[in-house]
Symmetry: C2
Subunit: 248 residues, 2 copies
DNA sequence: CGAACGGTTGATCAAGATCAACGTCGGTGG
DNA sequence: CCACCGACGTTGATCTTGATCAACCGTTCG
């Protein structure tokens, strides 16, 4: 049986770790106060399904800590990840009743949830929220399109390198470092989840990770702890042009 | 040399064929009048590149008539389509200076362009525009995610069937018919463009189209004119569950 | 301890890529 | 008028990448 998270979170938005990146990033104190009235926290453990595709959704919200995946599954069991949710990412689609994808917690996870109806109502008259959500959605769309190139045209090796560089870069921006030189991080995904991300089998993922290690593109400590000695080299293996998608 | 379009378009938004579906769908008469002051029409011929990836963009806009594609290209020439733009679809990303993708007119095309800076300024104080753009962006994100499943997990035959069903469905909603029973339409894409859409080679596209024809899933008159005798059958071949993605 | 889970590695197979030839249609210029 | 060319499409033969099937390892957890 799931044991309740012992950890206690401050309800105070001022202390919120994702305050400056989430949907509420642009909100004024009075707007935060209003959001506060319709918000609540929920904890999930690793492996738990947060939302089932097709379910009626009565909340939207932000990932506060932990990692979740958005996945689509065909009747015969083939599954494709279509979103990777990190802290500050938004869950749920205002204006739609039913969830379109499964949302699964990959690690232990905390969400800041807003009751859906009041949130939608508030969004309608609070440009600060609507604007921020638009911005975040446009970013997600860009990420999805980058991902489509990976899925449609890259080789298995390039796919793995692409995924590693994406995780490395996200990690760097989270720690507010530039993405260059040596980088170290932990893989937040199992080999199977990586396969579902990249449209591969887990065997192919395992082989290509080993190959990148053998060729010195990455170093591994255990199965998950990755060191990238030369980020440019990794980008090269990913087939990305060197600028790495820096957009004005 | 490109010959100028002889056709003349009414500047009048009241007669605009995409009025009810575009970014301006929710605008009041006074807002339309303001948009009118920053708008202009541009025509492109089939094959013409509208925007090059990396270019500075000085406008955003809506496709009024015709079809365009968003594509990404790797240094070695591999290309992946990441968006298919039909009438009423929006082009450009407010808040970003440089284009992230190539935009190419697949057919002769007319765009209703807005000068970027004034449009962004106006969006900041016109919720009707921002809200509609958010809604359209969320729809595009959903489409991109559906597409990711196609790219990552479907077989070549399923990919072709998926593309045909998407085009058939879009066509049906444009003509305001329900997507069922017999459907007839023209393919707006060459075999090569279909391949770039689906992450296949043009040879595989050709073979699978022939196979679907041989198996009676579709009928062809010429290379482009398609008849789908049984839409359910097509959905089945696409591996989609029967509801066809009808979401509340 | 044994089972479950995550991961690695090997042998074999098949879907789709690649290379190549050919067909059709619609201009265009001699 | 016809010959030629280029764009688009089809089909065949062969090759390669990644899938599939299978065995096995190490860790963790009842």
């Amino acid at each position: 049986m799931p044991q309740e998270h012992a950890e206690v979170f401050s309800r105070n938005c001022g202390e919120c770790p994702i305050r400056h990146r989430a949907v509420c990033a642009r909100c004024e104190p009075d707007e935060l106060a209003e959001l506060d009235m319709i918000k609540y926290y929920r904890s999930f453990e690793a492996g738990q399904t947060i939302i089932w595709s097709g379910d009626q959704m009565d909340f939207v919200g932000s990932v506060v800590s932990g990692i979740a995946t958005l996945t689509q599954t065909m009747e015969d069991g083939r599954t494709q990840m279509v979103g990777l949710l990190l802290p500050s990412d938004f869950v749920g689609r205002p204006g739609r009743g039913a969830a379109a994808y499964d949302v699964v917690a990959t690690s232990d996870l905390v969400m800041c949830c807003f009751r859906k109806a009041p949130f939608e109502e508030m969004m309608g008259r609070t440009p600060h929220i609507a604007q921020r959500l638009l911005e975040m959605t446009l970013d997600e769309l860009d990420a999805a399109r980058e991902w489509m190139l990976v899925l449609g045209r890259k080789t298995a090796r390039e796919k793995i390198a692409s995924l590693l560089s994406i995780i490395a870069r996200r990690n760097a921006t989270l720690n507010m470092q530039g993405p260059k030189g040596q980088m170290v991080f932990d893989l937040p995904l199992t080999r199977e989840a990586m396969a579902d991300y990249l449209g591969l089998t887990l065997e192919t993922v395992s082989r290509q990770v080993s190959a990148l290690k053998r060729d010195g593109v990455i170093e591994l400590k255990g199965k998950r702890h990755v060191t990238v000695p030369d980020f440019e080299r990794l980008l090269d293996e990913a087939g990305d042009d060197s600028d790495g998608g820096m957009l004005a």
